[in-house]
Amino acid sequence: MNSFVKAAGVGFISLGIWSSTALAQDSWWKTAAQPYQGATIRGISESTPASKYVEQVLGPKFTEETGIKVEFEATSWDQMYDKAIKDMEANTGIYDFVYIEQDIVYTYLARNFLVDITKSLADNAKIASPDFKPENFTTFVNYFKDPKSGNVMGVPMEAFIKPYLYRKDLFDDPAIQKAYKDATGADLKPATTHDEYTQIAKFFTEYGADKELWGTTVQASSSHPAAFYEFFESVAPTFGVYNWGIDGTTFAATEANGGQMNSAAAKKALNYWVGLLKYAPPESTSSTWDEVAGTFSAGRAAQGLVYGENAAWIATDESKSTVVGKVGVALPPVEAGVMEAVASGKGYIGYYDGGAFGIPHSSKNKDASLLFLQYIGQASVQTDWALAGSRIVMNSTYDDPKIVDQDKKMNGYYTLMRDDGKLFAGAPPFPFHSQVLQVVAPFIYKAIVGEIQPDDALDQAATAAEAELVKLGYRK
């Protein structure tokens, strides 16, 4: 009896502690959000799997807990920038939080578009959640810190590398392996050099002539910046050309002035990349990142560089992908000597992509938005979000059993990201990102459609980029 009373007592006390803790946790958001009850915050983002999770899951959950309504607009990449930048330029205050892609953050910082999250939370401790800890994020958060103050200006919401995906089922098929050996004299395995990659692409294009299968994807839209990005951020670095070939101190682009945009390595890279179009499906010249993922998931390519945001659904979602369980992941092929240079800290082999949510200075609901950004920055929401969008922004997420399980299904994409993520890098810290892109991209488009030769395209692009940088006042 005595032991029963003791056990019951301990049980009640435990229940009491558990329930009071739970209530306290529940009530923190409610208490903090009390002054903003009934408010509506509006956000805009590119329509990605990670963004859709915010729209469909995190937004409604936050509303349920706080009473603050979240209106979220997941739209195309172009529209997202167009709308967000116009809103911030005109100070209209339509959006309370906006997607900041890693490559545009320097422009936003230079133009003072963003609210300082660290400072705002320090100034208003009542809305500073104890569960929001910037130090929990991976080093990716550093891209969203003000270089001067070190303060956080954006809460990371997605991060991924752009790996080399290949069709494991095809690469492991003994009959195909034999055919490859007979045709090339080499063993069929994921490419580590550009020559190997081209050889594999050529082989599978011939092999798949009557199977709607081609050798590679190429993100080579002949009129969309996606082509510029694939070349300068994913291909050129594997040839040792970094930061778009622009010198970060003199802002020179031409080789004559110390830049690399039209260097021999850059020209070799563009010739290689444009040459791959022979082994790519016909949609490649109109493919952005979305179409590349669509091509791979439809089983139309044997290999390709595919943005990591699409890796999870391609590898695991049978409702969207025809290659579930057939996807292998590896590092992109590189030119000889590049991996050694990268290991010594002199470059990178691909794009570390992602973005954060930030609060525009023009927002009319800054405090409510700060609450929302902290809500999505909690460790507790990260795992399911990662499962839905193959994005990881916190170190602890890698070790979650659900993620470990998904990693196995994805043939080690997360392991690759954790172990080799350091070999990848975000976009260069150029505040003139969009301006140079718009000037250079048309030359890449012309090379894609064969209007000019790749060598000429880069010569003209480098000259035009320098002229633009002079006009903008960066290059003297």
Partner: protein, 292 residues
């Protein structure tokens, strides 16, 4: 005098709105066009440039090519829509046509579709690798139709898309004009022995001139500022094959944030449009101004 005052009173709201949404932005663009202004420059403020932006435009081959491309596009679509629209108008007015009302309704549907949706639909139809148009052109005729690599295919598709979208508007306008024509001059011409071509050229066309003029002006100005449909269909590509002037200006003003140069481009394009419209007016009416 009193009547005149009442007239002005009724006109005031429209005048005020036009002043706010038309005249003020025009003056602002005129002002900005004299400056070098890019908010992503080292110096993001407005810097006086005088006529430099306009001088640069004269030597800017991308701008000039874009303008020329737009004029060619406008010529093709306006002429084709007039011819097709007339034929369709006559066909839909024919008493012998069974199900005339039904065809009229069906034929008019494209007008109510938003340009952005038209562009998206045509892109889905024509996208290489997946679209049904390239698929069947290859299957039936062996044609490798590809709007993302072949400039002529992209340009031609842009024209056909515009014809599909706007010919019904021309048809409706001409049907209204044809229906309102008096019968007597036509009967008189027949009695005088005029053949069909002569009656069309010497009687119908002169009487239709006001309708033709209005329709041509509306379509010309629309064609010169095509953006949404083209953006969805080709994004101005392949390379710059369908980068019409509206799209070119948009790229300069928004993604490039080159406001001064973009403003100068806009004004020069407006000037070209006005001159073109005036020339057309003179050619069609024989008058040099004072439209009545």
């Amino acid at each position: 005098m009193r009547q005149s005052n009442i007239g002005w009173l009724f006109l005031t709201p429209a005048t005020l709105i036009l002043f706010v949404v038309g005249f003020i932005p025009f003056i602002y663009i005129l002002y900005v066009g004299f400056f070098d202004w890019n908010t992503n420059a080292v110096d993001p403020t407005l810097r006086w440039a005088g006529l430099q932006n306009y001088r640069n435009l004269v030597f800017d081959t991308t701008f000039l090519n874009s303008l020329a491309r737009t004029l060619v596009f406008a010529f093709f679509v306006v002429v084709s829509e007039l011819l097709l629209g007339y034929v369709l108008a006559r066909a839909l007015m024919a008493d012998r046509l069974w199900g005339r009302q039904f065809f009229r309704t069906i034929h008019t549907l494209p007008i109510v579709v938003a340009p952005i949706a038209v562009g998206a639909t045509w892109r889905l139809l024509c996208v290489p690798g997946f679209g049904i148009v390239p698929y069947y052109l290859k299957l039936w005729f062996g044609i490798d139709y590809n709007i993302s690599t072949n400039a002529y295919h992209a340009f031609g598709t842009a024209i056909i898309m515009d014809l599909w979208h706007w010919t019904p508007f021309v048809t409706l306008s001409l049907m209204a004009g044809l229906t309102a024509l008096p019968k007597e001059p036509l009967e008189q011409a027949q009695i005088d022995g005029g053949n069909k071509l002569q009656i069309f050229w010497y009687v119908i066309v002169p009487m239709l001139k006001p309708v033709l003029l209005t329709t041509v002006f509306i379509r010309l100005m629309d064609a010169l500022r095509s953006v949404d449909e083209i953006w969805m269909l080709t994004k101005g590509g392949p390379a710059e094959a369908t980068r019409f002037i509206g799209l070119h200006i948009w790229i300069n003003v928004f993604p490039k944030t080159d406001y001064g140069y973009g403003a100068a481009m806009s004004l020069l394009t407006l000037y070209v449009t006005i001159v073109l419209s005036w020339l057309l007016f003179v050619a069609m009416t024989g008058r040099k101004g004072g439209a009545q």
